[in-house]
């Protein structure tokens, strides 16, 4: 009994050390990326790990101006913010209606949305490309935004339905008794109560819009329309011909990473909850 407990204690200590090792590796990788983005290319090649001495903030200027990351970052912000706002605005009333009205039709519709969760993006990529080309919306922000709104529907509706289902209906009953119509009840009573869920839905959609690569790659190509992932892919491709400019490349990587790090350190628990509790129970 004694020895068993002691060996269990030892095993636990080793396991804990291992976990901290992985945690440290994650943090060091991010730190290394940030440091490398401030160093010159030849320095990086000679010594992969090292402090930037002196720090070359010029890498960021080069990346933003010559590497095309500047306009791409603005496009990314525009596309992800607008598409997630629209997705939440469209999905919120629908999820509310589905959660509150419990009929066979509404549970069937809920299931239809949930089934969309199992469809991989590559199934939609050719049809959406062909369809948008027909209405002249390829290589345009509007087209990409529409696609992201469509892609967002299953998850956003599904998540918000679960969220509304957890809100008791007493408040609405009182509002209706006071003579409020459906729009007013929704706008003045339900939305304020549901604010937390809506913010989480927006955040998760923003994150996936920000990182989305396949559709951005297929649907946009001209320099003033591409988003950050496309700019990064193109930069890497062009560098293979001209020799690698590691400093600038990692500056580009940092530009993609920075908002995620900022969001996560600000609203980390909310993001984790949205992505875990929203899916689990």
């Amino acid at each position: 009994m004694q020895t068993e407990r002691r060996s269990a204690g030892l095993a636990r200590r080793i396991a804990t050390a291992l976990v901290w090792g992985v945690v440290a590796a994650d943090l060091l990788l991010i730190l290394w990326i940030v440091l490398t983005s401030l160093r010159g290319s030849s320095e990086v090649l000679h010594q992969a790990f090292g402090l930037p001495a002196p720090p070359r903030f010029g890498n960021y200027l080069t990346a933003l101006r010559d590497g095309g990351f500047g306009p791409a970052a603005l496009n990314s912000v525009l596309v992800s913010v607008v598409s997630s706002l629209a997705a939440v605005a469209i999905a919120a009333p629908c999820a509310y209606a589905l959660a509150r009205r419990r009929t066979r039709v509404s549970s069937m519709l809920t299931m239809t949305f949930a089934m969309g969760l199992g469809v991989p993006g590559q199934v939609l990529v050719v049809p959406l490309f062909v369809g948008l080309a027909k209405v002249n919306l390829t290589d345009s922000h509007l087209g990409l935004i529409l696609v992201y709104i469509g892609l967002a529907m299953p998850f956003t509706v599904f998540m918000l339905t679960g969220f509304y289902a957890g809100i008791p209906g007493v408040l609405e009953e009182a509002a209706v008794m006071d003579g409020a119509g459906p729009l007013r009840t929704f706008w003045q009573i339900v939305l304020p109560v549901a604010r937390g869920g809506l913010i989480t839905a927006f955040l998760l959609q923003f994150i996936s819009g920000w990182n989305e690569t396949l559709f951005a790659l297929v649907l946009t190509h001209s320099q003033d329309q591409i988003t950050l992932p496309v700019a990064l892919a193109e930069f890497v491709a062009s560098q293979q011909l001209n020799g690698m400019d590691y400093g600038t490349m990692f500056a580009g990587v940092c530009i993609i990473l920075a908002p995620m790090i900022a969001l996560f350190s600000w609203m980390g628990t909310r993001i984790i909850q949205g992505m875990t509790v929203g899916i689990g129970k």
Partner: protein, 321 residues
């Protein structure tokens, strides 16, 4: 993206017949909810129908034709699927997709369980959990690029190995090793996410169950086997399906792994997503949209079948606590 796997819809099913005394009474709230249903639901349904469901249908239809995107579509029936079966690159892609799904899934979940066990009793677990979670918010390309540099022939990893006396390090980024490297990166980035979901479920398990088990003399493994596993089973099965769906979607990690993007990566590291991409948007040849959509439909079938099988295998009676 949770799921096809929740067989119970989140809105409770109708048990009681609607109270409709004399045509349209019910409480004022019920009446109002009936009136608002379609106006509220219609916009999302329309968007979902036009931008999601219709494209899936269109993909099914296109997969039956030979089409380069410009000219006429020629009817081929199931011909595209027959060609796919014989195409060695498609077979490789399917094999790789399955490898990512099963090998990656098994390893990820084993590590996630281990992490859950350790994290449960660790100091500063919230901080550790947050750090481990973060990689799933990062674009896969970032890891591809970082790995391309770290594991390059004269890169830091080999330098470190050289320092330790390893003179002939493995050729990390050679064509044969790409897929295992992708798999490793994938596992590393995904475990934090699944650990978080499983931990959220484990946190809901009441402490008295563990205390009772401990009083009965159960050791750590037995507590895991007889308390944690059964109580978190629902969530674990949801996770398994989630993994299945997301493993088939992997794209940018493979596209840019090792920083190789001026051309498509070597076929030996493709999954079905890359196959679809390369058939539909080739660099030099004519697009084969019929083949591309057929391959996409095959990957949809793979997800569906894997999900159904998983649901079957993992079905247990729910445990109330």
């Amino acid at each position: 993206m949770a799921a096809t796997l929740l067989d119970k819809p989140r809105t409770a099913p109708v048990r009681t017949p609607r109270r409709r005394a004399g045509g349209g009474a019910g409480s004022p709230l019920a009446r109002q909810q009936r009136r608002m249903f379609w106006p509220f639901a219609a916009p999302a349904l329309l968007v979902y129908g036009v931008l999601f469901l219709a494209p899936v249908g269109y993909a099914l239809w296109t997969s039956l034709y030979r089409w380069d995107g410009m000219g006429d579509m020629q009817w081929r029936g199931l011909g595209n699927y027959q060609v796919l079966l014989k195409d060695p690159s498609f077979r490789t892609s399917v094999g790789n997709t399955l490898e990512l799904m099963f090998v990656g899934g098994t390893v990820t979940f084993v590590i996630s369980f281990a992490l859950t066990l350790v994290l449960r009793e660790m100091k500063a677990r919230l901080f550790a959990r947050s750090v481990l979670f973060f990689p799933c918010l990062v674009n896969g390309m970032v890891f591809g690029i970082a790995a391309g540099f770290l594991f390059s022939p004269t890169g830091p990893v080999n330098q470190a190995l050289h320092f330790l006396g390893v003179t002939t390090p493995p050729k990390w980024l050679s064509t044969d090793n790409l897929l295992p490297m992708v798999l490793g990166t994938l596992i590393w980035t995904a475990t934090g996410y699944y650990t978080s979901i499983i931990m959220a479920a484990v946190d809901q398990i009441p402490a008295y169950l563990y205390e009772a088990a401990e009083l009965d003399g159960a050791n750590a493994w037995q507590r895991f086997r007889h308390v944690t596993l059964p109580c978190a089973w629902d969530v674990i099965s949801v996770c398994a399906v989630l993994w299945t769906v997301s493993s088939v979607k992997i794209f940018e990690l493979i596209l840019l792994f090792g920083g190789s993007s001026s051309n498509y990566p070597p076929v030996s590291s493709w999954n079905t997503a890359l196959y679809v991409y390369s058939e539909a948007f080739p660099q030099a040849t004519v697009p084969r949209l019929g083949m591309a959509t057929a391959a996409a439909i095959v990957s949809l079938l793979m997800v569906t079948v894997a999900t159904l099988v998983l649901r079957r295998l993992m079905r247990r009676d729910p445990i109330e606590y």
